[in-house]
């Protein structure tokens, strides 16, 4: 490998780490981005001449810091504040060799700070931690690059103005702060998962898994492992979730031989670990449910009693009508469609989830199984009117067509 190739390889593996350290050292995202760029440019110049240093990462970090200080000095001719900043940076402890991995964790916690709106947390995390471009994130979230760029600019300004610290939270704050980080990971994955396959959002699933692996590696909290398990177990079903013609295939109809056994094994291991810790939360429980599905040969041989039991636990940890709905579907599998339908109608009677397409889709399916064709049709039509997701629309249309046949 020549020096250029080595530097390109380093860019791929080290750039986000070097960037995270530079944000800590310089206290400013823009300055750090500029410094990162300059550090690699300096490397290209100097390493071509002198060879690649034994430890390239610290070299890049200190080169970036040096470049930032000299930029600030030049600009200080017009802006005295920058001069003071340059002064401060130069005289701060020049031995910045803290654990670099901690810097990545700091960056994650800063980007996912609860002071920022959730959309901003997601955009910022994808760009600053994962290294996605503004344009790619905008495509995935069906918005314009200009709108997304502004969201990122505003978030960075807010971090500066509110003095949001660049730090891993204290132990006492960790549970709440970790929740925010895990939610961002979960939302990023969901965004990718619910998109039609082959759409620009597809890559979000991979990014969410990579990010979650990083979290598990750096911060071995059971619930982070639980979330990773959930993502892996879901990702394992990807090859079976769409048919050859690109149609969505429901869990019960999927060809389970297509499921990724390696991902399932890893996911199941992580679930067990998290459950054993006895400090798990809702993600671990959802992963445990996914693991029960993953272990079953087909839908009918699934341990539905176990699934219902896990939903009971989940409802206690995190009560929500959506979890109740999922539980109702599992109850229908355990005790028959009538029992499930009664639970779903109970949710509706309380005035909840009336506008939730999946409730009506599930209701339609249970009515169909009971032979109540008219009711099934009404429910599927209601679901169709409520969903905006194209794969889901096509699936519902199929169900309706099958009823007519």
């Amino acid at each position: 490998m020549d020096v250029r190739e080595q530097i390109e390889a380093l860019w791929r593996t080290e750039a986000r780490r070097v960037y995270a350290s530079l944000v800590r050292l310089l206290g400013d995202f823009d300055l750090a981005e500029e410094a990162l760029h300059d550090a690699f440019a300096a490397a290209m110049e100097q390493w071509s001449r002198d060879g690649v240093p034994a430890r390239p990462r610290p070299w890049l970090v200190s080169a970036g810091r040096f470049q930032a200080v000299s930029h600030l000095r030049r600009r200080a001719r017009f802006d005295t504040q920058l001069g003071e900043l340059a002064e401060r940076l130069e005289h701060e402890d020049a031995a910045p060799q803290e654990d670099v991995e901690d810097d990545r964790l700091r960056l994650v916690f800063t980007c996912c700070h609860p002071e920022l709106p959730v959309e901003a947390q997601i955009a910022l995390t994808l760009r600053e931690v994962c290294g996605l471009t503004t344009e790619a994130i905008a495509r995935a979230f069906l918005t314009t690059p200009a709108a997304l760029a502004q969201r990122i600019v505003r978030a960075k300004t807010r971090i500066q103005q509110e003095g949001i610290p660049y730090a891993v939270p204290e132990l006492a704050d960790l549970p709440v702060r970790l929740d925010a980080v895990l939610r961002v990971v979960y939302l990023v994955f969901n965004e990718g998962w619910s998109a039609a396959s082959g759409s620009p959002a597809d890559e979000l699933c991979g990014e969410a898994i990579r990010l979650c692996r990083l979290l598990v590696e750096l911060l071995p909290e059971p619930e982070a492992g639980g979330l990773l398990a959930l993502l892996l177990l879901q990702e394992a079903r990807r090859p079976a979730r769409t048919s050859a013609t690109g149609e969505l295939v429901l869990l019960e109809d999927q060809d389970r031989s297509l499921w990724n056994a390696a991902l399932i094994a890893e996911g199941a291991r992580l679930v067990e670990q998290a459950l054993r810790s006895r400090r798990f939360g809702p993600y671990t429980l959802q992963a445990a449910i996914a693991a029960v599905h993953a272990e079953a040969r087909d839908a009918s041989s699934t341990d539905w009693a176990e699934v219902v039991g896990l939903y009971d636990l989940l409802l206690r940890v995190e009560p929500s009508p959506v979890v109740e709905l999922n539980r109702a579907v599992a109850v229908a599998m355990r005790d028959g469609p009538e029992a499930g339908l009664a639970l779903i109608d109970g949710i509706l009677a309380r005035g909840q989830l009336g506008d939730y397409s999946l409730l009506h889709a599930a209701r339609g399916e249970l009515c169909r199984r009971l032979g109540r064709v008219g009711q099934a049709r009404v429910a599927f039509e209601r679901a169709l009117a409520l969903t905006k997701l194209e794969p889901e629309r096509r699936l519902l249309q199929q169900r309706l067509d099958a009823l007519r046949a």
Binding site: D30, E33, H37, F78, T133, T134, E135, A136, A149, V153
Partner: protein, 121 residues
């Protein structure tokens, strides 16, 4: 990606600057050009004269008029084409341009626009 940064200014306000104010501004511009060139982000850039001629086809005839295409106080006074990894990096770079840093007195501002791929190639 390549981005076009259009610097908009107001002719009257620029002409109202004293000679020394104008010189100080030129120093800033030259320094900025130099930084941009060194960092490798610069593709091309220049400042523009205020005088403009516009050409368009109207009523089946090509009409040439004296003056800018759109009559507003602010006119394009300079442009830079930069190479950046994404729009946020382009914004960061454009923020360093003198046109983004001069205040109301000089009346400058900067517009960043992605350059579409594949057009006219």
């Amino acid at each position: 990606m390549k981005y076009l940064c259009l610097a908009y200014g107001i002719q009257q306000q620029m002409e109202a600057l004293s000679k020394s104010e104008l010189e100080a501004l030129m120093v800033k511009c030259r320094m900025h050009d130099e930084e941009l060139r060194k960092s490798g982000h610069l593709v091309s850039g220049t400042s523009l004269e205020w005088a403009a001629v516009s050409i368009r086809r109207r009523n089946g005839k090509v009409v040439v008029t004296d003056g800018p295409y759109v009559e507003t106080k602010e006119q394009v006074g300079g442009l830079v084409i930069i190479e950046a990894k994404d729009l946020n990096e382009a914004i960061r770079i454009a923020k360093l341009h003198p046109a983004a840093n001069l205040g109301e007195a000089e009346g400058w501002g900067i517009e960043v626009r992605p350059i579409a791929d594949g057009c006219h190639q």
